[in-house]
């Protein structure tokens, strides 16, 4: 079992070992979350590496990653546990055939762990080999308020109650990471129990580092051009600005096409990798892409 890192620097190094480049601010919050055993609430635009940090942490600490993807209408049956009805049905019929359909016996046998289907939240409360798991509750803004209220309870005591079995308490609290794209405001009560961090778009230097870590095959010149272009693009009036994930995707696309340097033609051919709305793509066709590329190049020149 890997011990929790002892300092903020250690967290940074740990994550860097997983090719996750993170700033001092994010490392500080992650360190605190590990040290204080509090959930970490990451909010930010799509594609800024919120989900990735959970994966990197789990891999670096050698813990199991348990992911709960939120969606509208997510309920306890999908998030915590469910009974295996088909198996229960068979058990009843088998008991009947054997002539022993005793009421108390049935209760005792039907609602045991054998018939329990564990969902992510319950799994996270169970002891795991290698230590407490990393529980990733992804895109919590997609679910609704009743589920938030439920999470509130589960995350403050790290326990869930199953009426038929009793309370399951985590022997060691899991490392909880919640992410939100802010499509709606998550309730303050939930946020208050967490350490909050807004994940912003990275600076030029940081994004270059990220690209080096994630797409090491890309040449220095191409990486710099790609990042400069994307950074410049984020200043444009777009409906959806490209995230870091898009930068990495785009660099990989360009590598697959054996592109050595950007040109307006290449950009307009591969624009679908960075911009995902037709309005935005239409804006960038033709001269506009060339203008941004020229500006990006100019910003690179002094360096």
């Amino acid at each position: 079992m890997t011990q929790n890192p002892a300092s903020i620097d250690a967290v940074q190094q740990l994550l860097a070992g997983q090719d996750y480049v993170c700033g001092r601010a994010l490392a500080t919050v992650a360190f605190l979350a590990l040290k204080l055993g509090r959930p970490l609430f990451l909010e930010g635009e799509a594609g800024t590496g919120k989900t990735e940090i959970a994966k990197a942490l789990a891999a670096a600490l050698d813990r199991r990653l348990i992911r709960l993807q939120c969606y509208e209408g997510l309920d306890a049956a999908a998030a915590v546990y469910e009974w295996n009805f088909a198996a229960q049905m068979i058990a009843i019929r088998a008991a009947e055939a054997a002539g022993g359909a005793d009421r108390d016996l049935l209760t005792a046998e039907l609602f045991t762990e054998d018939f329990l289907i564990e969902r992510p939240l319950l799994q996270a409360m169970r002891p795991q080999p290698g230590g407490a798991p990393v529980l990733l509750i992804d895109e919590v803004d997609r679910t609704d308020e009743p589920f938030e209220a439920f999470l509130l309870e589960a995350l403050s005591d790290f326990q869930v109650t199953i009426p038929e079995l009793g309370t399951v308490r985590a022997p060691e609290p899991p490392i909880v990471i919640l992410t939100s794209n802010r499509t709606r405001e998550v309730h303050d009560a939930l946020k208050r129990r967490c350490l909050y961090h807004w994940v912003d778009y990275p600076s030029f230097e940081r994004e270059i580092e990220i690209l080096h870590a994630r797409a090491p095959e890309a040449s220095e010149t191409l990486s710099r051009e790609v990042v400069a272009f994307v950074q410049r693009l984020r200043q444009e009036d777009l409906f959806k600005k490209p995230g870091v994930a898009e930068t990495i995707d785009w660099a990989k696309c360009l590598l697959a096409l054996d592109v050595i340097a950007l040109s307006p033609e290449v950009i307009s051919d591969t624009l679908g990798a960075i911009l995902k709305y037709q309005d935005d793509i239409a804006r960038l066709q033709g001269m506009e892409a060339k203008r941004i590329l020229d500006e990006a190049r100019r910003s690179l020149e002094p360096a």
Binding site: S7, A25, K35, E72, D102, R184, D188, H197
Partner: protein, 425 residues
Amino acid sequence: MPAYPDLTLPEDGKLVHNITHFARALRRAGLPIGPGRVQTAIEAVAAAGFTEKADFYWVLHACFVNRPEEREIFHQTFRLFWRDPRYMEHMMALLLPAMRGVQEEERAAEAARRAAEALLADAEMPPAPETLESDEEETRIEIDATATASAEERLRQLDFEQMTVAEMAAAKRMLARLALPVKPLPTRRLRPDSHGHRPDWRRTFRASLRTGGEITAIARRRPATRWPALVVLCDISGSMAAYSRMVLHFVHAVANRQGQGWAKVHAFTFGTRLTNITRHLRRRDVDAALAAAGREAQDWQGGTRIGESVHAFNRDWSRRVMAQGAVVLLITDGLDRGAPADLAREMERLRLSARRVVWINPLLRWDGFAPRAQGVRAMLPHVDTLRAGHSIASLEALAEAISDPQDHGEKARLLAALAGDAPGG
């Protein structure tokens, strides 16, 4: 200001003291920080150690900040406070009485209280005026961020204080009658219901245990329901002057009728720029709410730039307030001076992200209204329904329009008129 509970914290020198003071300063600046969070912050600082100023900054940031908007307030407070805590206190003390005196108490004493008593007689009295620091702080920042006014913008603030007797009476009547019966939407969550269409195996089994494993009846479930959210975009330009105030009364009434429909009401005003007034409308007192909104929106009775305003909404707010299938209420006369193509594009984007776009146009009250203005022509194809909204009666009819997906209001008639006109224009 509430009394602060005495914290029993380990006294280690000045640091604990200073963090507590800092938390109080933040609280005064409008961040909702309770003693629990102060405790967390102290634990966090103890855990992270006190080595670098930047680390210290982020440690406190993680504990005290909960929303992106709060980052700037935190930053400024941190910068000021850790330079000299006394300076901060001193400034706050200076600001406090001045702001209260000018902005809240006078108003509340005269117009606001009276209106509250008159309008919300059945409800409880509005809570004691909250401190205004947060408003002040955020307002300043927002103005900073948007101080890109062009020369043609006529910045004029509307004074809501002088409500005429007639207006007041009308508002009262409206409040009394206004019960927006919105139809709840089915969600994907299920709840027990004996007439539901989906079996509830878990309850069925639990019940069957009582009869020794024999299933006698199948328990059922059906989708639960929830209320939709409402987004109001209200035109406050010169051509809507007589109208927008009334409409804001209406919006305030809707926003403050909790449990009556709408899950959340987000309100925006626009003339030449888009302003979010949701926060201000939350005040119970209609006068205070509209006065605050009036201070916030800088473009009362100026020109109109519908295209740009809708664009700003799409870019900055649509993903945040429309995610849960919101109904959009667009209140404007459609007299726009911008390029029709841009307006049409933004309206299309708006409609794509909303459950329904309901356009209320006060000009419709004239029988012979035809879609001549280019703005109206551009917008018409991209709304679900078009309605008049010049009177209280028409606002009431609106409730049905919003909840009925088949309702198209006057849209079909006007689209036909538009098609007839098209070759010429």
